[in-house]
Symmetry: C3
Subunit: 427 residues, 3 copies
């Protein structure tokens, strides 16, 4: 995954245009089944209109001495993303309204966008901006906005059921790593892993689109289907560093996606930060909006908006790691494992079954030496049987017994193979 | 309001009789639409019987030296309220069973009543009582209990809906200020303000009656109507001083009246004491009783029973203030504002609407200089839209988002005027 | 009760056999209505098969010097309960796999069983085991397993209703006192007390059976009846010492048995330990299992597994006391008192009734001398009336008002006798 991030890092992505397309094509080379779609500029999608494509060739800000202050060739963050073209001389004080820097992060180039209001601007280090001499500057941006299409990609991997688990991330951020190349690369790696599974109870859907407008465009084309089929989903974002774990709930915080996310983290004894839906900031804004209302949560590492390097040139390849990406992939694989095994079990027997003759408990009630030891799975059997009432799913059994959801899954499998549990009939 | 309190303070009110009538008439002069009703002595009202009118001319307790120990003319609190007449010489030790004072408040005349058990007595400062010489005392009370009527007043101000908001207070306390002239004067001021409103969604009912027996009499005549129409109500009492705020819940603590009361206090960032219904002591005892069960709560300042001056001559005009009365009026006006705007809104659009082109959010995703600032109302729009699901009322939106209910009201109005919210159809 | 425990202590009880029968017969002598039942060896009871009877005559472990290391005649705990016979010479190292001791309790003989796996063994003090010399030992156990029956006893005391309150304990433990002679003796004393009551609203069922297999056998014969009739029940165990009180909930923790148990302890202001159902270990494992699901909780003193003497020879008659047994009996009598009085009351009157004329409150609103005092029962009347809404039972009234359940019972009786409360009609 880290290699993919390295190769994709330099491209100047935006909500439309060649950088986005290159990125989607790159992933299609990895997963050929990924389908790339386009929706024409000017198309109405709910309350929005699909914007034109943005194509930028070069951009440069030159100071009165002819020295280059900011060059698109050095970093695509130097130019306000989606900026209109300009070729103009202007004084420093005129220029200030078109400059963006972060006083609190003087060595970082900030990431600024202006998608829906025609504007141009340069972003630069605050240390450099403070030292700019008076005089006449040359602002040059060679960009164009042309009719074309907004692109996004999806991949549907069928399972036994047509109920779907949905994963989504976004591919519109230019040269930044945690936010956001980490989401797309983990999503693609997760899709490959799902493809490799022998058996899938559920159908899996993976979506890569530009943030906000792409999610809205995707939903405008697929809403009815998604509302009818998606039982849980996740927005994968900010999963590249190896800092702490974090959970951002769905709007209600009570969906299956929420329960599974928490069970996954707690099942591995991972410390994690619990955010509120009020802290949201990515595509759950669309997927969880009232009239869409899909059961979507997020598991993250260092969340957007909470780390100093966020939305600057310092959110670079040094900020993420192969280890961080790998752990995040595991975390989402755990969610899938839980979802696939989240049955509602029911005891077969009335009263406790005789575990001893099935080697599921020690044969003697012994306080001392000579007592056979049992695996942890076996010692959980009584508690699983006590709550397997035909109404409680695996995640619920974990919550009520305090046993890791993964041990519940193993314990239920052991009890089912001993004919002591069966899957409850659905009413 | 303070002027009204000053003028009404000297009158000797009781649960029946001229003092009560004078007080109701005084308020009718201010609000001519106020209707004064009478219910004849001897009438059965639920478990109770309307008592006779109490009329007192004078009362005096004279010590062995002929000095006046307590004179009704100085303070009507000197006589046990509703006392029978007496004209009798008796020794100090015989007299003691008819004297009331407060050892813990030696300079205060306590307020004592004996409505349903014929009795006479004098109330006086404990300091004075302790110094009473032995010898023969003259106890003289010129009062009578005669058939007449129990009076109460109400005022109904119609609105667009016949659903009612009910406010009630009581006018049976003699010369005390916080408990209780503050309640009646705030109630009358609130009624005048409601009359002045351009538009009223709800019908408003204001009731002034003697405590307990008056409330019971009023309920006995209006119970079916009130149960069918009242959606929220408040017992206004102890609202005259400018101490802290307090909330006394309804019996269940979960009615609309409760939710609005809490939203009003929290919406102004007011610290307040949260009492239990077990701490009740005023007419919520009747209005919230199981077979009446109206949705009534109370917002108070220094609550009856919690301040040392309570039920003594020290609860006088110095204890209350124009500022305190004014703040309490505002507090109840806030409740009305919230009730009138407590709609259930629903998003018009699927997904988030495009706030930028409506000037409801900054046009750029910018971390630095040049970022347009937005009013707080605008910055709340996203959170309002995220929870406007057609099921959550304005008070609920405030609770779930943590935004002041007043900002929710303003935000909803702004979004409605932008065609982004609509009032949800009632199922 | 303590005398009964003294007499029963020496018998070698097990899950079947003469020791169990002797114990049941002993109790039948005290309560002749107790019925003793048998179920034949080999009978299938749910997932289990009734085991053969175990009959043991003698057992002795002799060391190389001919000294007796452990003798069944000294303590029946010396032999693994339900052990097969043996008569064999073997070296100390061969013997070790058949010895049981507790390093942490070097002077205690541990209690070890091997019901469902044929095995023999001796239990002894760890201090003695550590000092055993090398050489040839003689292990001798004269026991047999023969077809016979598993015995249990029950007693049904009819009441006005056929709804049942169930109490159960177990009589399979050999010479140990708190766990478990205390449960059976308290159960029998409780049964005698229930028999002596003038009036019983409910039918009472008392069950004494071997733990686990006996409970399963009893349930296999009575499950449909119990599920249709039992509204609350308790597993009586570990109730002999005078340590702290403890509560072990039912599986859900929300049954009537739970509510009453907590109300009983709180109503007497008793401190108690609140266990989780995950801490269970006695016959609630069967009675609360998902497909049985009876509303059963436990009130205990020092709970099994929590005191050092547990399951050793030190859980002897010194560990329990007449005082402890008596307090535990009272605790369960309190549960019965609460259950018998746990009506749902409803106010007769609309609004508060006039308590003064019924001498249920002071006639005067007086702050000082001369105020009649009222009993605590009377002072609770207002709060009872405020919540007697025809939906809240006596236990619920206690919870919502914070008044002891016993004062609620007394208060409701007083108000009912004054025609102010009536029992709510069942919908």
């Amino acid at each position: 995954m880290f290699e993919w991030a390295v190769e994709l890092f330099p491209h100047c992505r935006s909500i439309t245009g060649p950088g986005l397309r290159t990125t989607l094509n790159y992933f299609q080379n990895i997963v050929p089944e990924l389908q790339i779609h386009g929706i024409a500029s000017g198309t109405q999608v709910f309350d929005w209109v699909v914007p034109q494509e943005w194509r930028i060739k070069s951009a440069k800000l030159t100071d009165p001495n002819g020295d280059v202050v900011a060059d698109f060739a050095d970093s695509n963050l130097h130019v306000v993303n989606y900026a209109v073209s300009v070729d103009r001389k202007l004084s420093l004080s005129e220029l200030q309204a078109h400059l963006y820097s972060r006083e609190d992060m003087p060595e970082a180039i900030p990431y600024v966008t202006s998608y829906y209001s025609p504007h141009w601007g340069f972003c630069l280090e605050h240390s450099k901006r403070s030292a700019l001499p008076d005089g006449e500057y040359q602002a040059f941006i060679d960009s164009e906005h042309v009719d074309g299409e907004l692109n996004f990609a999806d991949l549907v991997i069928p399972g036994e059921s047509d109920q779907e688990i949905l994963f989504t991330s976004y591919a519109c951020h230019p040269s930044m790593a945690n936010n956001e190349l980490s989401g797309p690369v983990v999503l693609i790696a997760l899709a490959r892993w799902v493809q490799s599974l022998d058996r899938r109870k559920y159908t899996y859907r993976f979506v890569l689109a530009p943030e906000t407008i792409g999610a809205i465009a995707y939903l405008s084309q697929n809403l009815n289907h998604l509302q009818a089929h998606v039982i849980a989903g996740y927005v994968i974002t900010c999963v590249g560093d190896d800092g702490g774990y974090a959970y951002l709930p769905s709007r209600t915080g009570t969906t299956l996606a929420d329960e599974v996310a928490i069970a996954a983290l707690e099942g591995r004894d991972l410390d994690f930060t619990r955010y509120s839906f009020l802290d949201r900031g990515s595509d759950e804004r669309q997927y969880c909006s009232p009239k869409v209302d899909l059961p979507m949560a997020s598991l993250l590492r260092s969340k957007y908006g909470t780390y100093p390097e966020y939305h600057t040139s310092l959110d670079n390849l040094d900020f993420i790691s192969a280890k961080g990406l790998g752990e995040s992939l595991s975390m989402y694989q755990d969610c899938i494992r839980i979802l696939e095994h989240n049955e509602i079990y029911e005891c077969v027997e009335k009263c406790e079954p005789q575990l001893g003759r099935r080697n599921l408990r020690p044969p003697q009630n012994s306080a001392g030496a000579g007592q056979p030891t049992l695996s942890e799975i076996q010692s959980n059997t009584s508690n699983i049987l006590a709550y397997a009432d035909g109404k409680t799913d695996v995640v619920g059994l974990s919550r009520v017994t305090g046993i890791s959801v993964f041990d519940i899954i193993d314990g239920c499998a052991l009890l089912k193979s001993n004919q002591l549990l069966e899957i409850a009939a659905i009413d």
